[in-house]
């Protein structure tokens, strides 16, 4: 596989009427990567995908495919294909005709022969594991099968980039998990760049090589999943990705990438994510970093409110003087029990405290 399929987005802005959907987005998607755009609904991720596909035009900015400006090209002249959230299969065509549609749209001279078309369809159906279903109509398929057909249909023209618009969100949990792995396998087999839009952070983290977190029309952070989870660049990313507890405190001093903090009368140090000395801060602690400490020790005291079973662990929701706190334990703890909560030094990440907007849900 040659390394084609790099997409670059330069300074792209888009608004609908007065509402800004995208604000000066810059993004590099490496060739052959599995790239996820992650964000809550309305963050602009689908708009960005449609602009890459050519189904929407940006107000300003350019889109480059392998270095070539394709901003003005209509969708049918871009080397990209798309998988839609609700499959968008052609209901009046069989599965085979759906999959083969992309081979019938070129001008008559460039169209592949019937034999070649049949063999490409068979190849694609085999790729998605639906070889037997070519004669069915879309109304006779399950959701998972329909989405596989949509993937096969989008891949038949050998696009350099496959765009996937929340392709799994309409499916049942089990089907979703199976199809997730299937997409990963197909990606590894073909080496095509996948741009995958989702609002499901587990999905984004589990299958992507790179994740772009979006919020209110702007990119918050672009990084690999581990970095996104372990060191979220902004408070928004920290809140949106993964579970976590946020404690409010004061910054005593900052040295290099370390910040000395005071939270509920206790001093400890955490990784600095842009705090200022003397300012207010919100400290992120992941549930797996926290542990139950002997009730005399620990850094915080909390009362267990609920204890939920998750198979391999129990999650405790506790109430502490600085707000609610989640932690994972191996053995259940009865609600009402008072425990000490401890964490390793430097485990936390300190973000500048947001104004009242973000503070409300913590203090309440």
């Amino acid at each position: 596989m040659t390394a084609t399929g790099a997409v670059a987005i330069r300074d792209v802005t888009k608004s609908y009427g007065r509402a800004a959907a995208l604000q000066r987005v810059d993004l590099e998607i490496p060739a052959g990567s599995f790239f996820s755009l992650l964000g809550p609904s309305g963050c602009g991720k689908t708009t960005l995908l449609k602009i890459i596909a050519g189904l929407e035009l940006p107000d300003t900015g350019v889109i480059l495919a392998d270095g070539v400006d394709i901003t003005a090209r209509p969708p049918e002249r871009r080397p990209f294909n798309m998988v839609f959230q609700h499959y968008a299969l052609f209901p009046h065509m069989t599965v085979a005709d759906n999959v083969g549609f992309g081979l019938t749209t070129a001008s008559r001279r460039d169209r592949p022969s019937d034999e070649e078309r049949a063999s490409r369809i068979a190849e694609m159906l085999q790729l998605v594991g639906l070889s037997e279903l070519g004669a069915r109509y879309p109304s006779e398929l399950s959701g998972g099968q329909a989405q596989r057909v949509a993937v096969a249909r989008a891949l038949i023209n050998r696009p350099s980039v496959l765009l996937l618009d929340e392709p799994l969100s309409a499916l049942d949990r089990n089907v979703r998990f199976a199809l997730r792995e299937e997409l990963l396998r197909i990606h590894q087999e073909l080496g095509t760049t996948f741009v995958f839009v989702t609002h499901d952070q587990d999905e984004a983290l589990s299958i992507s090589q790179l994740v772009g977190v979006m919020n209110e029309g702007a990119l918050e952070q672009v990084a690999d999943p581990q970095t996104i989870y372990r060191s979220p660049g902004t408070l928004f990313t920290a809140r949106f990705v993964g579970a976590g507890s946020f404690f409010e405190g004061t910054v005593r001093s900052v040295q290099g990438d370390r910040a000395e903090l005071e939270v509920a009368g206790r001093l400890f140090s955490a990784t600095d994510a842009g705090v200022a000395e003397g300012g207010r801060t919100q400290v992120l602690l992941r549930p797996e970093e926290l542990e139950v400490a002997p009730s005399e020790g620990g850094s915080l005291r909390g009362t267990v409110e609920t204890c939920s079973f998750f198979g391999s662990y129990f999650e405790l929701l506790t109430q502490t003087p600085v707000g609610p706190c989640r932690l994972r334990v191996r053995e259940p703890v009865a609600p009402g029990t008072e425990i000490g909560i401890g964490w390793p030094d430097r485990a936390g990440i300190a973000y500048p405290a947001e104004d009242s907007r973000a503070g409300v849900d913590l203090r309440s």
Binding site: A53, L55, P74, P75, E76, F80, N81, M82, F84, H86, A88, L89, F90, P91, H92, F101, G102, T105, A106, Y137, P138, S139, A150, R153, A154, N157
Partner: protein, 273 residues
């Protein structure tokens, strides 16, 4: 509870009889062997159909009505479908105004439309002919076409068109290979309804036909002169032609619905029938 359902059943049955018994009687007498309308009918025969088909006035009326209905259906469907695309695909003040405006002919009394057409024909010195009959029918059938096609265009998933574009189809290809096949059942249903409405329209036709006689007009004029059993035969034909057409259309759509074609137009059809 049981008592109430018993009453409901009776009322429904009576209503059903009230609506369909006269139709049944007419059809029965259409096949009557005797020559008067006394009960019971005297044996089965096709003599009244033979008599009727032997009359030149009837045959020409049938020809005129069939021609007018076919032409009306084709014209109304072409105009109505084009209008439906404009209404469903572009939403601005003009199209919204146009949409409500296009429904108006359904609510106007046909008598009013008839008088207006006569006035217009006088003003522009247009003589009554087959063309004016068709024009009158197009006016009252186009709103049905618009209604049916717009509702189909509104409740179908636009992303299939985006998907087709994405796979390399030009806008014309999308129209020919995706949009039109998908709304074909609605267009077909609209054609059938336009045909059926035009075939037995009598009020407006009365104003626009001049000396040309459609089948319903033939029946009326014949009733003025005599009441003989042949009228029942004509009425049976007037009843059965639209029913057979609509019935065939429904069958065709049943068969098509397996392929995910919309059931909405089929329902509209069933209601209109």
């Amino acid at each position: 509870m049981r008592r109430r359902s018993w009453i409901l059943t009776t009322v429904a049955a009576l209503l059903f009889l009230f609506i369909y018994l006269p139709l049944l009687v007419v059809v029965l007498y259409g096949f009557n062997g005797g020559s008067n309308l006394s009960w019971p009918p005297q044996g089965f025969s096709l003599r009244w159909f033979r008599l009727i088909f032997g009359e030149e006035a009837f045959r020409s009326g049938l020809r005129v009505s069939a021609t007018a209905a076919l032409a009306t259906a084709v014209i109304a469907v072409v105009i109505g479908t084009a209008a439906a695309f404009a209404i469903a695909r572009r939403s601005n003040r003009l199209t919204r105004w146009f949409e409500s405006g296009s429904r108006l002919p359904v609510m106007l009394p046909p008598l009013f439309i008839g008088i207006a057409l006569v006035a217009a024909m006088k003003t522009f010195a247009i003589d009554p002919s087959m063309l004016t009959i068709i024009a009158g029918h197009v006016i009252i059938t186009t709103p049905f076409v618009i209604l049916i096609v717009v509702s189909r265009l509104r409740n179908y998933d636009m992303t299939v068109e985006q998907a087709a574009r994405d796979l390399g189809a030009t806008p014309r290809m999308v129209l020919r290979r995706i949009t039109l096949p998908l709304i074909a059942p609605a267009i077909f249903g609209a054609t059938v309804i336009a045909f059926a409405v035009s075939f037995d329209e009598v009020l407006i036709t009365n104003f626009t036909s001049g000396t040309t006689q459609t089948l319903p007009l033939f029946v009326l004029s014949r009733l003025h002169r005599t009441i003989d059993p042949s009228v029942n035969a004509v009425a049976t034909i007037l009843l059965l032609v639209p029913w057979v057409v609509v019935g065939l259309a429904l069958l065709w759509q049943r068969r098509g619905s397996r392929r995910g074609a919309a059931d909405a137009p089929a329902e509209t059809l069933a209601r209109a029938a």
